[in-house]
Symmetry: D2
Subunit: 136 residues, 4 copies
Protein backbone atom coordinates (compact mmCIF):
# COMPACT_ATOMS: atom_id res chain seq x y z
CA UNK A 1 0.00 0.00 0.00
CA UNK A 2 2.27 2.72 -1.19
CA UNK A 3 5.98 2.91 -1.84
CA UNK A 4 8.46 1.75 0.78
CA UNK A 5 12.13 2.59 1.23
CA UNK A 6 14.81 1.61 3.72
CA UNK A 7 17.98 3.41 4.76
CA UNK A 8 20.64 2.76 7.37
CA UNK A 9 22.39 5.32 9.55
CA UNK A 10 24.38 5.56 12.75
CA UNK A 11 23.47 7.55 15.83
CA UNK A 12 25.69 10.62 16.14
CA UNK A 13 27.13 11.78 19.44
CA UNK A 14 25.23 15.03 18.95
CA UNK A 15 22.02 12.99 19.01
CA UNK A 16 22.66 11.44 22.42
CA UNK A 17 21.72 12.97 25.75
CA UNK A 18 22.76 12.70 29.39
CA UNK A 19 20.77 9.46 29.79
CA UNK A 20 23.24 7.91 27.37
CA UNK A 21 20.66 7.14 24.68
CA UNK A 22 19.28 9.18 21.77
CA UNK A 23 17.39 12.38 22.55
CA UNK A 24 13.69 12.20 21.71
CA UNK A 25 13.43 15.11 19.25
CA UNK A 26 16.18 13.69 17.06
CA UNK A 27 13.84 10.96 15.86
CA UNK A 28 11.90 13.58 13.91
CA UNK A 29 15.11 14.57 12.15
CA UNK A 30 15.69 10.91 11.28
CA UNK A 31 12.14 10.64 9.94
CA UNK A 32 12.88 13.58 7.64
CA UNK A 33 15.99 11.80 6.38
CA UNK A 34 13.85 8.76 5.64
CA UNK A 35 11.28 10.83 3.72
CA UNK A 36 13.99 12.56 1.70
CA UNK A 37 15.52 9.27 0.62
CA UNK A 38 12.16 7.64 -0.11
CA UNK A 39 11.20 10.50 -2.44
CA UNK A 40 14.60 10.37 -4.12
CA UNK A 41 14.20 6.61 -4.63
CA UNK A 42 10.83 7.32 -6.26
CA UNK A 43 12.61 9.58 -8.72
CA UNK A 44 11.20 12.81 -7.33
CA UNK A 45 13.57 14.42 -4.82
CA UNK A 46 11.73 16.74 -2.45
CA UNK A 47 13.98 19.56 -3.58
CA UNK A 48 12.47 19.26 -7.06
CA UNK A 49 8.97 19.28 -5.62
CA UNK A 50 9.69 22.60 -3.91
CA UNK A 51 11.24 23.92 -7.13
CA UNK A 52 7.92 23.13 -8.83
CA UNK A 53 5.99 25.02 -6.17
CA UNK A 54 4.83 22.09 -4.07
CA UNK A 55 5.68 22.09 -0.35
CA UNK A 56 4.70 19.28 2.02
CA UNK A 57 5.14 20.54 5.58
CA UNK A 58 4.47 18.28 8.54
CA UNK A 59 0.96 18.80 9.90
CA UNK A 60 1.07 16.15 12.62
CA UNK A 61 3.71 13.83 14.05
CA UNK A 62 3.66 10.84 16.35
CA UNK A 63 6.54 8.86 17.86
CA UNK A 64 6.76 5.84 20.13
CA UNK A 65 10.08 5.30 21.86
CA UNK A 66 10.43 1.55 22.38
CA UNK A 67 13.99 0.73 23.30
CA UNK A 68 17.21 2.59 23.94
CA UNK A 69 19.97 2.92 21.38
CA UNK A 70 23.38 4.47 21.78
CA UNK A 71 26.07 6.43 20.03
CA UNK A 72 27.28 4.75 16.84
CA UNK A 73 24.59 2.06 16.85
CA UNK A 74 23.65 1.20 13.28
CA UNK A 75 19.91 1.65 12.77
CA UNK A 76 17.70 0.64 9.85
CA UNK A 77 14.76 2.90 9.06
CA UNK A 78 11.87 1.84 6.84
CA UNK A 79 9.41 4.46 5.55
CA UNK A 80 6.13 3.86 3.79
CA UNK A 81 4.29 6.64 1.99
CA UNK A 82 0.55 6.66 1.37
CA UNK A 83 -2.36 9.01 0.92
CA UNK A 84 -4.23 9.57 4.15
CA UNK A 85 -6.87 11.97 2.83
CA UNK A 86 -7.80 13.88 -0.33
CA UNK A 87 -4.98 16.33 0.28
CA UNK A 88 -2.97 14.54 2.91
CA UNK A 89 -0.04 12.17 2.78
CA UNK A 90 1.43 10.09 5.52
CA UNK A 91 4.80 8.48 6.09
CA UNK A 92 4.85 5.50 8.48
CA UNK A 93 8.30 4.87 9.89
CA UNK A 94 9.95 2.05 11.81
CA UNK A 95 13.51 2.11 13.11
CA UNK A 96 15.23 -1.13 14.05
CA UNK A 97 18.62 -1.84 15.64
CA UNK A 98 20.53 -3.78 12.98
CA UNK A 99 22.52 -5.74 15.56
CA UNK A 100 19.77 -6.84 17.93
CA UNK A 101 16.81 -6.64 15.55
CA UNK A 102 14.89 -4.78 18.23
CA UNK A 103 12.40 -2.08 17.31
CA UNK A 104 13.94 1.16 18.59
CA UNK A 105 11.10 3.51 17.74
CA UNK A 106 8.27 3.96 15.29
CA UNK A 107 5.81 6.64 14.31
CA UNK A 108 4.45 8.67 11.47
CA UNK A 109 4.22 12.16 10.08
CA UNK A 110 1.23 13.55 8.22
CA UNK A 111 1.73 16.20 5.58
CA UNK A 112 -0.39 18.75 3.81
CA UNK A 113 0.31 20.16 0.36
CA UNK A 114 0.85 23.91 0.17
CA UNK A 115 2.27 26.56 -2.11
CA UNK A 116 5.24 28.80 -1.41
CA UNK A 117 3.14 31.00 0.85
CA UNK A 118 1.80 28.09 2.86
CA UNK A 119 -1.68 28.08 1.34
CA UNK A 120 -3.26 24.66 0.80
CA UNK A 121 -3.28 23.49 -2.79
CA UNK A 122 -4.71 20.47 -4.54
CA UNK A 123 -2.09 17.71 -4.81
CA UNK A 124 -0.79 17.76 -8.40
CA UNK A 125 -1.55 14.64 -10.49
CA UNK A 126 2.12 13.62 -10.64
CA UNK A 127 2.21 13.52 -6.84
CA UNK A 128 -0.84 11.29 -6.61
CA UNK A 129 0.56 9.00 -9.27
CA UNK A 130 3.89 8.91 -7.48
CA UNK A 131 2.19 7.74 -4.29
CA UNK A 132 -0.69 5.62 -5.57
CA UNK A 133 0.38 4.58 -9.03
CA UNK A 134 3.03 2.20 -7.87
CA UNK A 135 2.60 -1.19 -6.38
CA UNK A 136 5.28 -3.02 -4.57
CA UNK B 1 -6.81 18.23 36.70
CA UNK B 2 -3.19 18.34 37.57
CA UNK B 3 -0.69 21.15 37.86
CA UNK B 4 -0.33 23.71 35.08
CA UNK B 5 2.52 26.05 34.28
CA UNK B 6 3.15 28.65 31.60
CA UNK B 7 6.41 29.99 30.19
CA UNK B 8 7.27 32.37 27.39
CA UNK B 9 10.17 32.09 24.97
CA UNK B 10 11.28 33.36 21.59
CA UNK B 11 12.03 31.27 18.52
CA UNK B 12 15.75 31.12 17.88
CA UNK B 13 17.26 31.40 14.41
CA UNK B 14 18.70 27.92 14.94
CA UNK B 15 15.14 26.65 15.26
CA UNK B 16 14.00 27.96 11.88
CA UNK B 17 14.34 26.14 8.57
CA UNK B 18 14.43 26.95 4.88
CA UNK B 19 10.63 27.37 4.79
CA UNK B 20 11.16 30.38 7.05
CA UNK B 21 9.21 28.93 9.98
CA UNK B 22 10.23 26.71 12.93
CA UNK B 23 11.53 23.23 12.17
CA UNK B 24 9.19 20.47 13.33
CA UNK B 25 11.54 18.59 15.69
CA UNK B 26 12.29 21.72 17.69
CA UNK B 27 8.82 21.61 19.20
CA UNK B 28 9.88 18.55 21.20
CA UNK B 29 12.77 20.55 22.64
CA UNK B 30 10.33 23.29 23.59
CA UNK B 31 8.05 20.73 25.25
CA UNK B 32 11.04 19.59 27.36
CA UNK B 33 11.65 23.19 28.41
CA UNK B 34 8.00 23.41 29.47
CA UNK B 35 8.25 20.19 31.52
CA UNK B 36 11.44 21.35 33.20
CA UNK B 37 9.88 24.63 34.28
CA UNK B 38 6.61 23.03 35.38
CA UNK B 39 8.49 20.61 37.66
CA UNK B 40 10.61 23.45 39.02
CA UNK B 41 7.45 25.47 39.75
CA UNK B 42 6.10 22.46 41.65
CA UNK B 43 9.19 22.56 43.84
CA UNK B 44 10.74 19.41 42.41
CA UNK B 45 13.23 20.17 39.65
CA UNK B 46 13.72 17.20 37.37
CA UNK B 47 17.43 17.28 38.16
CA UNK B 48 16.57 16.43 41.77
CA UNK B 49 14.33 13.60 40.63
CA UNK B 50 17.23 12.05 38.75
CA UNK B 51 19.51 12.59 41.76
CA UNK B 52 17.00 10.54 43.76
CA UNK B 53 17.08 7.74 41.20
CA UNK B 54 13.89 8.55 39.33
CA UNK B 55 14.07 9.05 35.57
CA UNK B 56 11.05 9.91 33.42
CA UNK B 57 11.97 9.32 29.78
CA UNK B 58 9.52 10.07 26.99
CA UNK B 59 7.66 6.92 25.92
CA UNK B 60 5.41 8.53 23.34
CA UNK B 61 5.06 11.96 21.77
CA UNK B 62 2.47 13.65 19.63
CA UNK B 63 2.54 17.06 17.95
CA UNK B 64 0.09 18.99 15.80
CA UNK B 65 1.52 21.88 13.80
CA UNK B 66 -1.24 24.42 13.42
CA UNK B 67 0.20 27.70 12.22
CA UNK B 68 3.58 29.06 11.22
CA UNK B 69 5.75 31.14 13.51
CA UNK B 70 9.01 32.84 12.73
CA UNK B 71 12.36 33.82 14.17
CA UNK B 72 12.06 35.96 17.28
CA UNK B 73 8.29 35.49 17.65
CA UNK B 74 7.37 35.45 21.32
CA UNK B 75 5.48 32.26 22.13
CA UNK B 76 3.59 31.28 25.26
CA UNK B 77 3.65 27.59 26.23
CA UNK B 78 1.25 26.07 28.75
CA UNK B 79 1.92 22.58 30.15
CA UNK B 80 -0.39 20.45 32.23
CA UNK B 81 0.84 17.36 34.06
CA UNK B 82 -1.38 14.43 35.00
CA UNK B 83 -1.25 10.72 35.61
CA UNK B 84 -2.24 8.76 32.52
CA UNK B 85 -1.84 5.26 33.98
CA UNK B 86 -0.61 3.50 37.11
CA UNK B 87 2.99 4.19 36.16
CA UNK B 88 2.56 6.75 33.41
CA UNK B 89 2.48 10.52 33.39
CA UNK B 90 1.50 12.84 30.64
CA UNK B 91 2.22 16.47 29.84
CA UNK B 92 -0.29 18.22 27.60
CA UNK B 93 1.18 21.25 25.91
CA UNK B 94 -0.20 24.21 23.97
CA UNK B 95 1.90 26.91 22.35
CA UNK B 96 0.33 30.22 21.39
CA UNK B 97 1.71 33.25 19.56
CA UNK B 98 1.57 36.08 22.12
CA UNK B 99 1.02 38.73 19.47
CA UNK B 100 -1.74 37.15 17.40
CA UNK B 101 -3.18 34.79 20.01
CA UNK B 102 -3.11 32.02 17.43
CA UNK B 103 -2.43 28.45 18.45
CA UNK B 104 0.94 27.61 16.89
CA UNK B 105 1.11 23.96 17.90
CA UNK B 106 -0.05 21.56 20.56
CA UNK B 107 0.66 18.03 21.65
CA UNK B 108 1.68 15.82 24.51
CA UNK B 109 4.42 13.56 25.76
CA UNK B 110 3.84 10.44 27.83
CA UNK B 111 6.48 9.32 30.29
CA UNK B 112 7.35 6.14 32.12
CA UNK B 113 9.19 5.98 35.42
CA UNK B 114 12.50 4.10 35.38
CA UNK B 115 15.68 3.69 37.42
CA UNK B 116 19.18 4.62 36.33
CA UNK B 117 19.41 1.51 34.18
CA UNK B 118 16.13 2.16 32.45
CA UNK B 119 14.13 -0.52 34.28
CA UNK B 120 10.52 0.39 35.10
CA UNK B 121 9.92 1.25 38.73
CA UNK B 122 6.81 2.05 40.73
CA UNK B 123 6.29 5.82 40.90
CA UNK B 124 7.44 6.99 44.34
CA UNK B 125 4.70 8.40 46.62
CA UNK B 126 6.14 11.91 46.50
CA UNK B 127 5.79 11.89 42.73
CA UNK B 128 2.15 10.84 42.86
CA UNK B 129 1.45 13.49 45.48
CA UNK B 130 3.25 16.07 43.41
CA UNK B 131 1.01 15.32 40.44
CA UNK B 132 -2.31 14.42 42.05
CA UNK B 133 -2.14 16.05 45.48
CA UNK B 134 -2.37 19.58 44.22
CA UNK B 135 -5.32 21.37 42.87
CA UNK B 136 -5.12 24.63 41.05
CA UNK C 1 34.75 49.13 23.27
CA UNK C 2 31.31 48.46 21.93
CA UNK C 3 28.01 47.60 23.55
CA UNK C 4 27.75 44.75 26.04
CA UNK C 5 24.77 42.70 27.13
CA UNK C 6 24.25 39.83 29.55
CA UNK C 7 21.58 37.13 29.64
CA UNK C 8 20.99 34.06 31.77
CA UNK C 9 19.69 30.69 30.63
CA UNK C 10 19.61 27.07 31.74
CA UNK C 11 21.06 24.12 29.88
CA UNK C 12 18.30 22.03 28.33
CA UNK C 13 18.32 18.25 28.39
CA UNK C 14 18.33 18.35 24.59
CA UNK C 15 21.66 20.18 24.79
CA UNK C 16 23.41 17.47 26.82
CA UNK C 17 25.18 14.43 25.39
CA UNK C 18 26.24 10.97 26.52
CA UNK C 19 29.23 12.42 28.40
CA UNK C 20 26.69 14.08 30.69
CA UNK C 21 27.72 17.62 29.80
CA UNK C 22 26.61 20.03 27.06
CA UNK C 23 27.25 19.06 23.45
CA UNK C 24 29.84 21.25 21.74
CA UNK C 25 27.73 22.56 18.83
CA UNK C 26 25.04 23.87 21.16
CA UNK C 27 27.35 26.67 22.26
CA UNK C 28 26.93 28.26 18.83
CA UNK C 29 23.17 28.25 19.35
CA UNK C 30 23.69 29.96 22.71
CA UNK C 31 25.94 32.56 21.08
CA UNK C 32 23.11 33.33 18.65
CA UNK C 33 20.73 33.81 21.57
CA UNK C 34 23.22 36.23 23.10
CA UNK C 35 23.52 38.21 19.85
CA UNK C 36 19.76 38.38 19.43
CA UNK C 37 19.27 39.79 22.92
CA UNK C 38 22.18 42.23 22.64
CA UNK C 39 20.73 43.71 19.44
CA UNK C 40 17.28 43.89 21.03
CA UNK C 41 18.78 45.69 24.04
CA UNK C 42 20.36 48.17 21.62
CA UNK C 43 16.90 48.91 20.25
CA UNK C 44 17.49 47.20 16.91
CA UNK C 45 16.23 43.61 16.93
CA UNK C 46 17.93 41.51 14.29
CA UNK C 47 14.52 40.75 12.81
CA UNK C 48 14.14 44.42 11.97
CA UNK C 49 17.57 44.50 10.40
CA UNK C 50 16.57 41.68 8.04
CA UNK C 51 13.30 43.48 7.29
CA UNK C 52 15.41 46.46 6.20
CA UNK C 53 17.48 44.29 3.90
CA UNK C 54 20.53 43.83 6.12
CA UNK C 55 21.67 40.30 6.93
CA UNK C 56 24.65 39.51 9.15
CA UNK C 57 25.56 35.85 8.65
CA UNK C 58 28.38 34.25 10.60
CA UNK C 59 31.62 34.23 8.59
CA UNK C 60 33.83 32.69 11.24
CA UNK C 61 33.35 31.18 14.69
CA UNK C 62 35.64 30.17 17.49
CA UNK C 63 34.86 28.39 20.76
CA UNK C 64 36.96 27.30 23.72
CA UNK C 65 35.39 24.71 25.99
CA UNK C 66 36.80 25.31 29.45
CA UNK C 67 34.75 23.43 32.01
CA UNK C 68 31.82 21.05 32.02
CA UNK C 69 28.27 22.12 32.80
CA UNK C 70 25.20 19.97 33.14
CA UNK C 71 21.48 19.85 32.55
CA UNK C 72 19.62 22.68 34.28
CA UNK C 73 22.77 24.56 35.30
CA UNK C 74 22.09 28.28 35.21
CA UNK C 75 24.61 30.02 32.96
CA UNK C 76 25.32 33.70 32.44
CA UNK C 77 26.39 34.80 28.97
CA UNK C 78 27.99 38.16 28.25
CA UNK C 79 28.31 39.39 24.66
CA UNK C 80 30.25 42.35 23.40
CA UNK C 81 29.77 43.72 19.91
CA UNK C 82 32.41 45.69 18.01
CA UNK C 83 33.57 46.44 14.52
CA UNK C 84 36.41 44.16 13.46
CA UNK C 85 36.92 45.54 9.95
CA UNK C 86 35.41 48.02 7.50
CA UNK C 87 32.53 45.63 6.81
CA UNK C 88 32.92 43.14 9.63
CA UNK C 89 31.46 42.92 13.09
CA UNK C 90 32.42 40.65 15.91
CA UNK C 91 30.66 39.38 19.00
CA UNK C 92 32.92 38.25 21.85
CA UNK C 93 31.13 35.90 24.22
CA UNK C 94 31.84 34.52 27.68
CA UNK C 95 29.65 32.02 29.49
CA UNK C 96 29.98 31.56 33.24
CA UNK C 97 28.34 29.12 35.65
CA UNK C 98 26.29 31.33 37.99
CA UNK C 99 26.73 28.95 40.91
CA UNK C 100 30.46 28.31 40.81
CA UNK C 101 31.55 31.43 38.93
CA UNK C 102 33.66 29.24 36.67
CA UNK C 103 34.14 30.12 33.03
CA UNK C 104 32.32 27.39 31.11
CA UNK C 105 33.26 28.48 27.60
CA UNK C 106 34.13 31.53 25.56
CA UNK C 107 34.55 32.46 21.97
CA UNK C 108 33.48 34.78 19.22
CA UNK C 109 31.66 34.97 15.95
CA UNK C 110 32.56 37.28 13.11
CA UNK C 111 29.88 38.54 10.76
CA UNK C 112 29.73 40.05 7.33
CA UNK C 113 26.98 42.32 6.08
CA UNK C 114 25.04 41.09 3.06
CA UNK C 115 21.79 41.67 1.20
CA UNK C 116 18.96 39.20 0.75
CA UNK C 117 20.90 37.35 -1.93
CA UNK C 118 24.01 37.06 0.17
CA UNK C 119 26.01 39.70 -1.67
CA UNK C 120 28.30 41.86 0.49
CA UNK C 121 27.01 45.36 1.11
CA UNK C 122 28.43 48.41 2.84
CA UNK C 123 27.28 48.52 6.47
CA UNK C 124 24.50 51.13 6.70
CA UNK C 125 25.27 54.22 8.80
CA UNK C 126 22.70 53.29 11.46
CA UNK C 127 24.50 49.99 12.00
CA UNK C 128 27.86 51.66 12.46
CA UNK C 129 26.34 54.16 14.85
CA UNK C 130 24.63 51.37 16.75
CA UNK C 131 27.94 49.63 17.29
CA UNK C 132 30.41 52.51 17.57
CA UNK C 133 28.27 55.46 18.60
CA UNK C 134 27.65 54.23 22.11
CA UNK C 135 29.98 54.27 24.98
CA UNK C 136 29.46 52.21 28.06
CA UNK D 1 50.98 14.22 8.30
CA UNK D 2 48.46 12.01 9.98
CA UNK D 3 45.62 9.90 8.71
CA UNK D 4 43.00 11.35 6.37
CA UNK D 5 39.47 10.21 5.63
CA UNK D 6 36.68 11.45 3.40
CA UNK D 7 32.92 11.01 3.67
CA UNK D 8 29.96 12.34 1.73
CA UNK D 9 26.63 13.43 3.12
CA UNK D 10 23.63 15.53 2.18
CA UNK D 11 22.33 18.58 4.03
CA UNK D 12 19.14 17.76 5.89
CA UNK D 13 16.17 20.11 6.01
CA UNK D 14 16.61 20.21 9.79
CA UNK D 15 20.05 21.70 9.21
CA UNK D 16 18.81 24.64 7.16
CA UNK D 17 17.64 27.97 8.56
CA UNK D 18 15.47 30.88 7.50
CA UNK D 19 18.26 32.27 5.30
CA UNK D 20 17.79 29.16 3.18
CA UNK D 21 21.30 27.81 3.79
CA UNK D 22 22.77 25.58 6.53
CA UNK D 23 22.70 26.85 10.10
CA UNK D 24 26.16 27.61 11.48
CA UNK D 25 26.17 25.26 14.50
CA UNK D 26 25.36 22.24 12.36
CA UNK D 27 28.86 22.28 10.94
CA UNK D 28 30.17 21.13 14.32
CA UNK D 29 27.83 18.14 14.14
CA UNK D 30 29.18 17.37 10.67
CA UNK D 31 32.74 17.61 11.97
CA UNK D 32 31.85 15.01 14.63
CA UNK D 33 30.51 12.73 11.91
CA UNK D 34 33.81 13.12 10.07
CA UNK D 35 35.85 12.28 13.19
CA UNK D 36 33.71 9.22 13.92
CA UNK D 37 34.22 7.84 10.43
CA UNK D 38 37.93 8.64 10.35
CA UNK D 39 38.49 6.72 13.60
CA UNK D 40 36.39 3.82 12.31
CA UNK D 41 38.46 3.77 9.11
CA UNK D 42 41.60 3.59 11.28
CA UNK D 43 40.17 0.47 12.91
CA UNK D 44 39.48 2.13 16.24
CA UNK D 45 35.88 3.33 16.50
CA UNK D 46 35.51 6.08 19.08
CA UNK D 47 32.95 3.95 20.87
CA UNK D 48 35.69 1.41 21.59
CA UNK D 49 37.98 4.15 22.85
CA UNK D 50 35.37 5.19 25.40
CA UNK D 51 34.83 1.54 26.35
CA UNK D 52 38.55 1.41 27.14
CA UNK D 53 38.33 4.50 29.32
CA UNK D 54 39.63 7.07 26.87
CA UNK D 55 37.47 10.11 26.10
CA UNK D 56 38.47 12.85 23.68
CA UNK D 57 36.20 15.84 24.26
CA UNK D 58 36.49 18.95 22.14
CA UNK D 59 38.63 21.59 23.84
CA UNK D 60 38.53 24.17 21.09
CA UNK D 61 36.75 24.57 17.78
CA UNK D 62 37.09 26.86 14.82
CA UNK D 63 34.93 27.21 11.72
CA UNK D 64 35.08 29.40 8.63
CA UNK D 65 31.88 29.66 6.60
CA UNK D 66 32.92 30.24 3.01
CA UNK D 67 29.95 29.68 0.74
CA UNK D 68 26.29 28.84 1.08
CA UNK D 69 24.90 25.37 0.58
CA UNK D 70 21.30 24.25 0.57
CA UNK D 71 18.98 21.42 1.50
CA UNK D 72 19.94 18.14 -0.17
CA UNK D 73 23.24 19.41 -1.53
CA UNK D 74 25.77 16.60 -1.54
CA UNK D 75 28.88 17.63 0.40
CA UNK D 76 32.27 15.94 0.65
CA UNK D 77 34.09 16.25 3.99
CA UNK D 78 37.77 15.48 4.41
CA UNK D 79 39.25 15.13 7.91
CA UNK D 80 42.89 14.88 8.87
CA UNK D 81 43.98 13.82 12.35
CA UNK D 82 47.29 14.77 13.91
CA UNK D 83 48.90 15.39 17.27
CA UNK D 84 48.92 19.07 18.16
CA UNK D 85 50.65 18.77 21.55
CA UNK D 86 51.87 16.17 24.01
CA UNK D 87 48.30 15.39 25.06
CA UNK D 88 46.34 17.10 22.31
CA UNK D 89 44.97 15.94 19.00
CA UNK D 90 43.51 17.97 16.22
CA UNK D 91 41.18 17.24 13.35
CA UNK D 92 41.41 19.59 10.36
CA UNK D 93 38.27 19.51 8.26
CA UNK D 94 37.29 20.77 4.82
CA UNK D 95 33.83 20.50 3.32
CA UNK D 96 33.34 20.88 -0.41
CA UNK D 97 30.21 20.99 -2.57
CA UNK D 98 30.48 17.92 -4.82
CA UNK D 99 28.62 19.59 -7.66
CA UNK D 100 30.39 22.94 -7.86
CA UNK D 101 33.68 21.97 -6.23
CA UNK D 102 33.44 25.06 -4.07
CA UNK D 103 34.76 25.05 -0.54
CA UNK D 104 31.67 25.39 1.66
CA UNK D 105 33.42 25.61 5.03
CA UNK D 106 36.54 24.51 6.84
CA UNK D 107 37.85 24.43 10.35
CA UNK D 108 39.27 22.26 13.07
CA UNK D 109 38.58 20.85 16.50
CA UNK D 110 41.21 20.28 19.15
CA UNK D 111 40.77 17.48 21.66
CA UNK D 112 42.17 16.58 25.04
CA UNK D 113 42.39 13.07 26.42
CA UNK D 114 40.49 12.44 29.63
CA UNK D 115 39.12 9.60 31.75
CA UNK D 116 35.48 8.90 32.52
CA UNK D 117 35.43 11.68 35.09
CA UNK D 118 36.94 14.21 32.76
CA UNK D 119 40.41 14.25 34.32
CA UNK D 120 43.30 14.64 31.89
CA UNK D 121 45.23 11.45 31.22
CA UNK D 122 48.33 10.64 29.23
CA UNK D 123 47.40 9.49 25.72
CA UNK D 124 47.74 5.70 25.64
CA UNK D 125 50.46 4.32 23.32
CA UNK D 126 47.92 2.75 20.96
CA UNK D 127 46.37 6.15 20.41
CA UNK D 128 49.70 7.75 19.58
CA UNK D 129 50.53 4.93 17.23
CA UNK D 130 47.12 5.22 15.63
CA UNK D 131 47.74 8.88 14.89
CA UNK D 132 51.48 9.03 14.25
CA UNK D 133 52.38 5.49 13.25
CA UNK D 134 50.77 5.67 9.86
CA UNK D 135 52.01 7.36 6.79
CA UNK D 136 49.88 8.04 3.80
Amino acid sequence: MGPVHTVEFRIRYSETDAMGTYYNSRVLEWFEYGRTELLRALGKPYREMEAQGVWMPVREAHVEYLSPARYDDLLRMTCRLYRSGPARFRFDVEIVDTETGRLVCRGWTEHVVVDRRGRPIRPPPWLIELVEGRRE
